[in-house]
């Protein structure tokens, strides 16, 4: 029988129409003494406005360096059942699809060994099993892995890749986000489970520029589906949108960031050469407009949250790349990217910060990517830049050539 705590402050958060996490805590606390002490300690936090969790120690399962976040209460005498309260990160299936059979199996394991509390899901994408003791970890891992489930990443390691719903249920998916994510997760199992990097490395895969997994903002490596070629237009469906009350001039044409569209009341025209594939028109008129046929990915690197020197969005390094199973070219590129970072990064330095420190050129040259205008918003503004001897040599050779031909090449 678990201990019952008085929780007048948290009880306030059982009221109101939005689903209550306090009800969840209480539901678990009825049957589980760890959950009961978690509830008691949280009430104390609400009273004192202080958290009572200590830094993680090194805990985990044999042979892995990640996947478990060590957590200990700083008040073990007061709340003995959360003296250990470790998190188990379970690598989610691509797209967060489940059968009830699979979810029940996870619940059974967690009821037996853990707190009966979970997060579906953590911010990176894993299933989070919240709160267990060190001595239970091996059994939990055996129960999970024998049934086909594995732990996700933590610490200075590859973190669990995640993706949007993709072609499973979205007409805008330019790429198979689920399969790419599955393949990359399998490719990097060692890097995921045994932290050996300077810091964390996150991969997210979005099917289009709507970016429902925040790849551009939350991944060291952002893979975003895109296309080449003309947007496909069904003019009958366009007219139906107009008949249905959509103001195509105001809502579509005038909101196009490149001004590449026109509408005469009967026909929608797109100057595809000028389109930057932002997805506004396609998202608003999904029955009438579809992405072009040549599908691929834009690859960006470097995004992260503010620690240490400010938040960053990912930078374009490959404007367009075709990707097909088994994704060898993509895997090789990612390996090169990580090699450069792993080789040069200081402890706790993310790849975006390293690129800032050593320069985009140093990075792109190592990875084997050429400079293209799609990588920058604008070229440099100040008159300072580096030349290598080879750079100058190239210019000189070209000038020699020009003297012979009388034709300038810029």
């Amino acid at each position: 029988m678990s201990k019952k705590y008085e929780t007048p402050l948290l009880d306030e958060l059982e009221k109101g129409p939005w689903p209550s996490f306090v009800k969840e805590l209480k539901k678990a606390a009825e049957k589980n003494e760890m959950a009961a002490d978690e509830l008691g300690q949280l009430e104390k936090s609400y009273k004192t406005k202080l958290g009572y969790w200590k830094h993680g120690g090194i805990v985990g399962v044999r042979g892995y360096g990640g996947g478990v976040i060590g957590r200990y209460s700083s008040l073990p005498e007061e709340f003995p059942n959360v003296a250990h309260f470790h998190t188990v990160r379970v690598n989610q299936p691509s797209g967060w699809f489940y059968t009830t059979e699979a979810l029940r199996m996870i619940c059974d394991i967690w009821d037996k060994y853990g707190s009966r509390l979970t997060n579906l899901h953590g911010s990176t994408g894993d299933m989070i099993l919240l709160g267990t003791r060190t001595e239970k970890l091996e059994d939990i891992f055996a129960e999970l892995s024998s049934r086909g489930w594995d732990l996700g990443g933590s610490g200075s390691a590859m973190r669990t890749p995640s993706c949007c719903v993709g072609p499973a249920r979205c007409e805008w998916a330019n790429i198979d986000t689920l399969e790419i994510t599955y393949q990359l997760t399998q490719e990097f199992q060692d890097e995921l489970h045994r932290p050996a990097y300077p810091y964390k490395f996150k991969i997210k895969v979005a099917g289009c520029a709507c970016d429902c997994v925040a790849a551009i903002a939350r991944a060291d490596l952002s893979i975003i589906g895109t296309w080449k070629g003309d947007i496909k237009i069904d003019q009958d469906e366009v007219r139906k949108y107009a008949e249905g009350g959509m103001n195509i001039q105001e809502e579509i044409v005038d909101m196009c960031p490149t001004g590449c569209m026109s509408w005469d009341g009967n026909e929608l025209k797109i100057d595809n050469q000028e389109c930057n594939r932002c997805m506004h028109c396609i998202a608003k008129m999904t029955k009438a407009l579809r992405p072009g046929d040549e599908k691929g990915v834009t690859i960006c690197v470097g995004s992260k949250a503010p620690i240490v020197v400010g938040a960053m969005l990912s930078w374009v390094i490959v404007p367009f790349m075709k990707v097909e199973p088994p994704y060898d070219e993509l895997k090789e590129l990612i390996r090169n990217i990580i090699d450069w970072w792993d080789e040069n990064g200081k402890p706790r330095e993310r790849i975006g910060e390293l690129i800032e420190r050593l320069g985009m050129r140093s990075f792109l040259e190592y990875v084997g990517l050429p400079p293209v205008p799609q990588q920058v918003k604008e070229p440099r503004r100040d008159p300072f830049w580096f030349f290598t001897e080879e750079d100058i040599q190239k210019i000189k050779e070209r000038e020699e050539e020009e003297k012979k031909t009388g034709q300038y090449k810029f």
């Binding site: 109101g16 539901k27 699809f97 919240l130 594939r277 506004h280």
Partner: protein
């Protein structure tokens, strides 16, 4: 009963075994989708097959008994298939149209909340807070609950100019896309940390601790075999606390939340944007943080009143100008609003064109 044999490095199960038959059949062949109500959409495949999705809010923190209940519902109406979204919603996947209404009725009866699809406030992305994080400067779950109780109708019925993505981070590590959300709260400290010098030599690596400071405020203190902090340089980020547990930054009276607005991750119309800080500090006030909730509501409703259709919060603000944002919301502009960190120079105005 004996524990089964462990296996390593097998990775997650392949997703295909969790896809309902209608998805397997129409994988990559969806034609369009329609939003039928804030909690219901239908995807139509080129084959003509339809898949109905009912979106339900969750508090993210779920007891296993609740997951079992969700499974029971999915068994009854969805042949045992369901998914979760990147914003902690549950999606019931229904391939038999006749089961949609009975499912909606049962969800309603059991007290589940449907909504969040389209130009609405969807569920919040948030972090662990006092529930489970050692570095938390606030409780994320409590703030989410308090905010969504107040904004409830913007999830269930009331439409906005475009979707509004709200996020909460319980410290500046931001395990959630707070830095690119329409409206977000990030918990901050406001006081220079204290150092337990006698513990530093046992618990901390001094060079790492010095290197952890983004403003170079930390230097060695050889006499104490510890470090010292130059107070006037410290911006209370807490990164030193993360690498050195002997440094303490938490302070119940001086921890609270800041409000940031105008970020987005999608590229629709305009490029992805960072959120910008508009309210530097609101004291922690559990269990319901009434002032923080009021701030979010003020910003949301000012946006709802003034933005054009399809404009996200950041697009609206960029059209009218940040100075107009402050005059329209009545939020006070302070020293904290003028950047003096990494990207400061890009934020100063360089033209005599502005509004009041």
């Amino acid at each position: 009963m004996a524990v089964p044999e462990r296996r390593t490095d097998i990775g997650p199960p392949h997703y295909e075994q969790f896809l309902p038959p209608v998805i397997k059949k129409n994988y990559g062949k969806w034609k369009y989708h329609e939003r039928l109500s804030p909690g219901l959409m239908v995807h139509v495949a080129e084959s003509g097959d339809k898949l109905y999705t009912i979106r339900v809010a969750s508090p993210r923190l779920l007891a296993t008994d609740t997951i079992r209940e969700i499974c029971e519902i999915a068994d009854k109406y969805c042949d045992g298939y369901l998914r979760f979204t990147s914003r902690n919603n549950i999606e019931f996947l229904v391939s038999d149209e006749s089961k949609v209404e009975p499912l909606q009725n049962e969800l309603k009866e059991r007290g589940y909340v449907m909504g969040g699809i389209g130009p609405m406030v969807s569920n919040l992305v948030h972090t662990q807070g006092w529930v489970h994080c050692h570095g938390a400067a606030t409780d994320a779950s409590g703030l989410v609950k308090a905010i969504m109780d107040e904004l409830f109708e913007y999830f269930t019925t009331k439409e906005l100019p475009n979707k509004v993505r709200i996020a909460i981070a319980c410290c500046v590590n931001m395990c959630g896309a707070v830095h690119c959300s329409d409206i977000a709260l990030v918990a901050v400290h406001t006081k220079v940390p204290t150092i337990q010098h006698e513990r530093v030599k046992d618990m901390c690596e001094i060079p790492t601790t010095i290197a952890s400071c983004p403003t170079a405020a930390i230097s060695p203190d050889p006499a104490k075999k510890s470090v010292k902090i130059k107070e006037e340089k410290c911006m209370y980020c807490g990164n030193c606390f993360t690498v050195c547990p002997a440094i303490e930054i938490k302070d119940p009276d001086r921890d609270g939340v800041a409000v940031v607005v105008g970020g987005k991750v999608g590229s629709l119309r305009s490029n992805p944007k960072f959120s910008k800080m508009v309210i530097p500090f609101i004291s922690n006030d559990p269990p319901r943080w009434p002032k923080a909730v009021a701030a979010v509501k003020l910003i949301l409703e000012t946006y709802a009143k003034h933005a054009r259709k399809h404009e996200r919060v950041g697009e609206w603000i960029e059209r009218i100008g940040w100075e107009r944002f402050f005059s329209l919301t009545g939020i006070e502009f302070t020293w904290q609003h003028i950047d003096d960190f990494t990207f400061a120079r890009e934020t100063f105005r360089t033209a005599a064109t502005f509004k009041y």
